[in-house]
Symmetry: C2
Subunit: 332 residues, 2 copies
């Protein structure tokens, strides 16, 4: 490309930027610049024209939409884009998009799980080690100058040998499994469907998986079926020493029951990156030493944002040159 003249925006393929006004395109301005050098990015929030008028005027030409973060895409919104063919999502989870409405319209959706998978898996493993070995709590103990006073900090638990149940064996869950195997954990999983090519033991539902696990790692999509599917019943069968790691979405767990189970000792601990009502975290958790609280930062590193850029550009370029998309979300 270096030897070509830069293309004028009107010659570039059109991509609608879909975002809540509060979601800026990226923290990294180069993300925006790189997209703009290759695509004509239409951002209604940057136009002085009223939103509805802007959208109506451009809608006949919008085949592709890029959605930033969890900006909602409803069936009603899709009706305003009659020739839309592709939604490129910059997030891993897609619970903000009405996927059945997309499938009905034949709109293809790509997500960014691939770009985030390693970082999210790293964070899941970090949270698990932290909860079991009480790293953050012991750090508070040291910073509180309690070590010289109270001598030893209470023991944690060994990671090796733990039976880890992975809920959702997609790109993130697979990376979690790879990492935890190296620590000597035994791995099992549940998912919508058994993966025939995967030699890991499968359980048909999260309750059966919990009954046979010491740890649950949630890294599945939030859907109607998975909403609140980790409830008190699942936590009770996981048991009093059981640990839940959630790097998926807050509403995979019934948060009220999670708080009750943690406060009441029905489970042993939790490492949470996501919550039902972010950025609000149940205040009952703030006093617990068997809980590690992360502010939805599992996917957030400069490296993963660069990977999202590459994946986003890759999907857009593939679409406009009629090549196979990089990260299509399966409709099953």
């Amino acid at each position: 490309m270096a030897d070509k003249e830069p293309q004028q925006p009107e010659e570039l393929p059109i991509v609608l930027v879909h975002r809540l006004p509060s979601f800026k395109i990226p923290s990294d301005p180069s993300f925006r610049d790189q997209l703009r050098s290759q695509f004509h990015m239409l951002d209604p929030h940057e136009s002085p024209e009223p939103y509805d008028s802007f959208l109506a005027r451009h809608a006949p030409f919008i085949r592709v939409l890029m959605t930033i973060g969890p900006s909602p895409i409803s069936a009603e919104f899709l009706e305003r884009l009659p020739v839309l063919e592709l939604i490129v999502a910059t997030s891993a989870g897609l619970n903000h998009i009405d996927l059945p409405a997309c499938w009905r319209r034949g709109i293809v959706v790509t997500n960014a799980s691939l770009a985030f998978a390693e970082d999210v898996a790293d964070c899941a493993v970090g949270l698990l080690i932290d909860v079991l070995r009480r790293i953050s709590a012991a750090d508070r103990f040291v910073r509180g100058r309690l070590w010289p006073v109270k001598e030893n900090y209470p023991l944690g638990f060994k990671l090796g040998g733990k039976r880890v149940g992975i809920v959702g064996l997609g790109s993130i869950g697979s990376e979690v499994a790879k990492r935890l195997s190296a620590f000597g954990c035994t791995i099992a999983y549940t998912a919508r469907n058994k993966k025939q090519s995967v030699p890991i033991p499968f359980y048909a539902n999260v309750r059966d998986l919990a009954a046979n696990s010491d740890v649950l790692v949630l890294c599945c999509a939030l859907t109607k079926e998975t909403y609140h599917f980790v409830n008190k019943d699942v936590m009770v069968v996981l048991g009093k020493e059981g640990v839940i790691i959630n790097v998926g979405r807050g509403s995979l767990i019934n948060e009220k029951e999670l708080v009750q189970c943690l406060v009441g000792g029905e489970i042993g601990g939790a490492g949470l990156d996501v919550y039902e009502n972010e950025p609000n975290v149940p205040k009952e958790l703030f006093g617990l030493d068997n809980v590690v609280l992360s502010p939805h930062s599992a996917p957030a590193t400069p490296e993963s944002f660069e990977a999202v850029l590459q994946l986003t550009v890759g999907n857009l370029k593939a679409f406009f040159s009629n090549k196979p998309l990089v990260s299509v979300v399966s409709n099953e």
Copy 2:
């Protein structure tokens, strides 16, 4: 053994318990009971007889000594045990034992690295993920109720792709290498000697390793040669984004220079389980968010204590039945 009558203590092989009065045999009383059922454990601190008199009276029969925690064993102390043949240490590090004095006398020493290796390696990896991804700092951010106020917590760094230099590739270092390989890190090491059977790149000294690494993980023995061998020079070549994890001994690092480098931004962060003057931690570290402070608890889980018991009993039984010892410390 179940069908035999229990042996009387005087028929059991004699083992001297060596400990500072402040080091109780174990937090778990069953450790003591299991040892006592198989060996005649002589503990001077449990006898009403004055220590020197107790030791002098029993010394002619003491072939084996079990040392608890970091209770010092000096050359002078060894002179009081003329027939001593074996020291069974319940710790991984042996800097509290005058090993050259042991070698001169032909006294064999066993340690407990094998029993602690997995837990220490887990903790090292946990500290590294925590420092890179800011888990403890972000947990403080959430507990301080800052998430709704400040929106995002600053980004951390990706673990995958980092060049990790392992200092000391013994049982602990090898477990660290195995784990971090699964995260996509590239591994190199330094050690007293290059290990011919190990395919990992070797550097002859810690400075060269630091110059070619993003992360240093210290899990070697503290000796005259390794005392303060991680100094400001090594930290400067590690670089401004470099991270040091120390699960070895505090004095492997010049702690004063470490504090200067962390405060001055000469290195990027540190995860510390050990310190030069435990339980005292340099107070300058308490305000830093790129540091995770653990109270020498890397080896501390119920599972590793059970493993220490098994290893200790295994070494003692092997000695008294003339079988090969389980975990002899090499004299090189």
